[in-house]
């Protein structure tokens, strides 16, 4: 019985190791290509440590276009995050408190963006463009569409946060102690939802910084668009930027992981032990 269990365990560890290799290898290949100035056919044990430098990245930083693109992408990320919070948090709270029966419908609606993927969405935007040039000419008009793309993830995050805090009880307790809606929202609900809000914001940022389809078709000069263009003239530079972008996304997700670490610590005081605490010798 033990040997079979041992075999099983070995098999599982093997799967994890193979998985790790499969996922690490492409990234390593890209980083190597970006940062090591050695052609692949020249690569051998002798040249393994030659030609490493970060100059590709610094070269990219010298492009004006890079800073413009970065600025635009950051603006879009901020705008999308704010728009998302402004629309989704009150909506989610409203649904939880007033119309719990509608939760299924709302959940369904938040999955709709999957049905209309980015390329189809941008096709529709192109159709509308002549009629709404005043709006769509601005680069910032991407914001609501990005919010739509991020919707399935951000709504699920906020919804999960609400479900974890027993919204109804907290709200009723707050109102019964005399707080109005604004106070309740600002001093009770939002602080309790901190981790859900942080993770949905980080998710939005990750989506915006990586979104290429809509920006490409609409010829907006965001960071990913810059990456693609720069790669044509300097492939190693383009790849280096991709490495940075991946690292940034990983940091964002690490941040999400930290923010959503389980905060429920079971109370360490049991009822029995607290009774003992109260029994004092007379």
């Amino acid at each position: 019985m033990n040997s079979k269990g041992g075999q099983r365990r070995l098999g599982r560890h093997l799967i994890l190791v193979v998985g790790a290799i499969y996922f690490a290898f492409p990234f390593i290949a890209m980083a190597r290509f970006a940062f090591q100035n050695v052609q692949v056919f020249n690569l051998g044990r002798a040249t393994l440590f030659d030609g490493w430098s970060l100059s590709v990245v610094t070269n990219a930083f010298r492009e004006d276009y890079f800073w413009e693109a970065l600025r635009l992408s950051l603006q879009l990320a901020t705008g999308t995050a704010l728009l998302t919070l402004f629309i989704l948090v009150p909506t989610a709270v409203w649904v939880h408190l007033r119309i719990p029966r509608a939760r299924v419908i709302v959940e369904f609606l938040t999955v709709l963006p999957y049905v209309i993927p980015a390329i189809a969405l941008v096709a529709g935007i192109v159709v509308i463009k002549p009629h709404a040039r005043w709006f769509l000419n601005s680069d910032l008009s991407l914001i609501p569409f990005y919010a739509v793309l991020a919707l399935p993830f951000t709504y699920r995050s906020i919804d999960a946060g609400l479900r974890a805090i027993d919204l109804r009880t907290l709200t009723e307790a707050s109102r019964s102690l005399g707080a109005g809606w604004n106070t309740t929202l600002m001093r009770v609900l939002i602080p309790s939802l901190k981790s859900a809000l942080i993770s949905s914001t980080f998710l939005t940022i990750a989506v915006v910084l990586g979104e290429y389809t809509i920006a490409d078709v609409l010829l907006k000069r965001t960071l990913p668009a810059f990456m693609a263009e720069y790669r044509q003239s300097d492939p190693r530079g383009g790849y280096a930027l991709a490495v940075m972008s991946l690292l940034a996304t990983t940091l964002l997700f690490a941040g999400i992981g930290i923010a959503t670490r389980s905060k429920t610590r079971r109370s360490e005081v049991t009822d029995e032990s607290s009774l003992k605490m109260e029994e004092t010798p007379t």
Partner: protein, 277 residues
């Protein structure tokens, strides 16, 4: 009823920025060159070369989905059952979160530098006598696309399937063993049947994901048999007036395929929640 008023901002937002564009796609697809209603473009969008494109896209998407389902389930099962070290499961989940949302350019670059004609793995295989490009392989062909898309499909499957696998109660396996069944009996009669809706749902999700991906494909290849790329070419504007309706037809059919997949996925997910909840 008045309570639904609170949903107005959200509904308005969805309407303006999701439904209106979607509707416009269909509206434009169902137009004749003279502007009247007509299904010519709509039908042309799935015939001839366009049909070949759909066939191609569906094929590689299904292939990538199958690989994702099998590998993802194995990985999720391995991650959830490995007890030591404890941080493995968290690491797998976190990484899957990152990798599943990856797509776009970094993914394309990664595989260009790994399996492209000048890729490092290509060169390594050459060293061992294997010419990767001898046969039909190409990053823009079915084989290449399956390899590349598996990179985000597998983590996505892990994320979606992990809760289902953890929903398999240990008591079921122990009861099965206690009543005379082996591990094999358990998977055959209880484990897999219970997981089946999740697995099918996962397949559909992965399929939809692969079918609709644009950014990665665009950087990897200019293969116009990939439907999102094809739509992109039409939107790019090197198309004469009147032909652009076909482009919108492609987009409309894409939405239909996605709607069918996601609809089935939604149905299956509710089914599996009933058993594992």
């Amino acid at each position: 009823m008045r309570d639904y008023v609170g949903l107005l901002p959200f509904l308005a937002f969805l309407f303006l920025f999701l439904l209106v564009p979607a509707y416009s796609v269909f509206q434009q697809a169902l137009k004749n060159p003279d502007g009247s209603f007509g299904t010519d473009a709509f039908r042309e969008a799935i015939s001839g070369q366009n049909f070949q494109a759909f066939k191609f896209s569906i094929t590689f998407s299904a292939g990538a989905a199958i690989v994702g389902v099998v590998a993802g389930t194995l990985l999720a099962h391995a991650a959830s059952s490995v007890e030591r070290p404890r941080w493995i499961k968290n690491l797998v989940t976190s990484f899957s979160g990152v990798a599943a949302n990856m797509g776009g350019l970094p993914l394309a670059f990664m595989f260009l530098s790994l399996l492209g004609r000048q890729g490092i793995l290509t060169k390594i295989l050459e060293y061992f006598g294997l010419d990767l490009y001898a046969g039909n392989f190409g990053l823009g062909e079915v084989s290449g696309l399956i390899v590349v898309y598996s990179y985000f499909n597998i983590p996505l499957m892990v994320l979606v399937t992990l809760p289902a696998i953890e929903g398999l109660r240990p008591a079921w396996r122990e009861a099965c063993v206690n009543l005379g069944g082996t591990g094999f009996t358990y998977w055959r009669r209880i484990g897999l049947p219970v997981l089946l809706p999740s697995l099918l749902g996962g397949f559909l999700l992965l399929f939809a994901n692969s079918f609709s991906a644009y950014a990665t494909a665009q950087q990897l290849t200019d293969n116009s048999k990939i439907v999102p790329l094809r739509i992109g070419f039409f939107l790019g504007g090197d198309v004469s007036i009147g032909e652009d309706a076909v482009g919108y037809g492609l987009a409309a059919w894409m939405i239909i395929v996605m709607a069918a997949s996601m609809g089935a996925y939604w149905f299956l997910r509710r089914r599996s929640e009933r058993w594992l909840g």
